[in-house]
């Protein structure tokens, strides 16, 4: 009987109930959207870093530290057979040396990266390096990223001087030609990086068969000449940023949740406030307090269920549509985050379920609390509409 009374009360409240349901449903949609967009952003940025730099981890020359450029040349090793035997789609050999570029007579310290042209593990816009047919003795073909080009005022076809140290420590210099300005999604391999063919860089530095690291698709076990650095290590700064971001998003989530809660609580309080006399009448008719609380809480449950249904009906088409169009973040091209494309939300079912459960509990609690308060008072107060003020 409680259920049928609650159903009747709820269904006949009309606009008030509908608005309550709609506000809650929109809040749920906003909550899911925000969380999923953040997930999508982080997932895409992580994917971009993996696809352009890290792969499944690096077998690095022991002692090599990307944060100590003055020592890069000291830590290069020959690629062992174990890694040489890997298929080109499972590895990317990389040699890194320090250099200086002289665009417009300015000195511009750069990281010179030579990468095997046969590799297909990392997705970098370096195809032109393969096909460029100028004489290497005259000009060294290089590719720079769009960010680097913008910062150093470089353009496709520009020639300029590049200086580096060879194996014996002697400083060499030669003119390079920018054969392409690539659209590199990951600013870590764009800004301050000059991309060369690995064979060219090896020739320039007299480091036959040597690399700074080999990016691999999967860990293939210990290799004595190398130390393996897993994805988590190589991305530790980014992951720390994501963790911080997650924490911030949790705060944002809590704020949004609080707003949802206040909105629902406010609506329910107003609803209950307006129905004090009705509650008093129910008490006068002999309905016991517990039953009244149960009925009003069931009404809250119904509001919550309808809010979830409406959120599903409105949200699902919206989420499907948004999954197709995404969210353009090209304005982030100036940032140092490894993303410069369209973000697509990443819906995490468990996260959504937890959020929905919490919203549901909040709605039910905000229905239960004020009625509980009223029914603890004398029925005369409720009948006079003075039980809650």
């Amino acid at each position: 009987m409680n259920w049928s009374i609650a159903k009747k009360n709820f269904s006949r409240q009309g606009l008030r109930a509908s608005l309550n349901v709609l506000v809650t449903a929109l809040s749920i949609i906003a909550l899911i959207f925000m969380l999923s967009l953040l997930n999508g952003f982080q997932a895409q940025a992580t994917r971009n870093v993996i696809n352009t730099d890290i792969g499944g981890g690096h077998y690095r020359a022991p002692g090599f530290d990307i944060l100590s450029p003055s020592k890069w040349e000291d830590y290069t090793v020959k690629v062992p057979d174990t890694l040489l035997r890997l298929h080109n789609k499972d590895k990317a050999e990389v040699l890194v040396v320090q250099g200086q570029l002289y665009p417009n007579r300015r000195l511009y310290p750069v990281q010179i990266r030579g990468i095997s042209m046969e590799q297909s593990l990392l997705q970098l816009p370096l195809d032109n390096l393969k096909t460029f047919s100028a004489n290497f003795d005259d000009l060294i073909p290089v590719v720079v990223g769009a960010k680097m080009a913008k910062k150093a005022h470089l353009h496709k076809g520009d020639t300029l001087t590049l200086k580096w140290r060879d194996r014996s420590g002697a400083v060499d210099a030669k003119d390079i030609i920018i054969i392409d300005v690539g659209d590199i999604l990951n600013p870590r391999v764009d800004e301050g990086v000059v991309w060369l063919r690995l064979d060219h860089l090896r020739l320039m530095t007299d480091r036959k068969n040597e690399v700074s690291w080999v990016a691999v698709k999967h860990y293939i076990g210990l290799i004595s000449e190398f130390e393996f650095q897993p994805v988590e290590f190589l991305m530790s700064d980014l992951l720390a940023l994501w963790r911080q971001d997650r924490m911030n998003s949790k705060i944002l989530w809590a704020i949004l949740m609080t707003l949802v809660c206040i909105s629902v609580f406010n609506t329910q309080m107003l609803n209950i406030f307006k129905r004090q006399k009705e509650i008093g009448t129910l008490m006068a008719l002999g309905m016991d307090s517990q039953r009244i609380v149960r009925i009003f809480t069931l009404e809250g449950c119904l509001a919550a269920i309808w809010a979830l249904v409406v959120a599903l009906l409105l949200g699902l088409p919206f989420f499907i549509w948004f999954q197709g169009v995404g969210f353009d973040v090209s304005h982030l091209s100036e940032s140092t985050l490894p993303i410069r494309e369209t973000i697509y939300p990443d819906y995490q079912p468990m996260e959504i379920i937890y959020s929905l459960i919490i919203v549901f509990i909040l709605i039910v609690a905000s229905s239960w609390f004020p009625v509980k308060k009223i029914t603890r008072l004398d029925p005369t107060m409720a009948l006079r509409g003075r039980a809650i003020k």
Partner: protein, 228 residues
Amino acid sequence: MHDKLITLKEITKVFRVGEENFTALNGINLQIESGAFMSFVGPSGSGKTTLLNLIGGLDVPTTGDIFFKHTKLSSMNRIQMAKYRRENIGFIFQTYNLLPVYSVYENVLFPLLLNGSKEKDARERVMNIVSKVGLSDQIKKKPSQLSGGQCQRVAIARALVKDPLLILADEPTANLDSKNSLQILELMSDLNEQYKAAVVFSTHDEKVTRYVRREVGLEDGEIISDKQ
């Protein structure tokens, strides 16, 4: 000889108003017999509504005891008190207090459902009582679609439908015009004869006093007269 339905012994009710105490009822001793048709009369603030609320178990006295037959109301807990109201008392309020989202039929049916009846068993009784208060053609309407007089008839039907021993009517004619007031009083008088439920009004409407068989006068929380 009628049985004693309600007995009030040395009833006092004190309300806290701000920093001060307000004595609404002071040393009330009274008996109400079953089948009575009586009224509490007096000016505003004399304690009429408070007395009805205490008898109806909506409020508790500060001191003194109220007995329903031989059961002391103050010995009941909240659940027992709700049961007491549900089974024995019918309320009629000045502002009708109908459930706004329910139709006339559903409002009258509601007390029976609360008492555990099934709708199909209660339907005939509801239709019968609705017809007695002259609202058979309004059965599907909501309270908002009815006049004040019609709403009060619904409230009377709702109070009577469960066949209570006592009906407490708090200023039932206060919001009605003369014509409707008289119709309501005629109706309640007839129903009192027919159903034998005791009816207690609180009122300062002189029209009511013409209908009742007993009139208890109240002033400043004390009984000043008791006319049969």
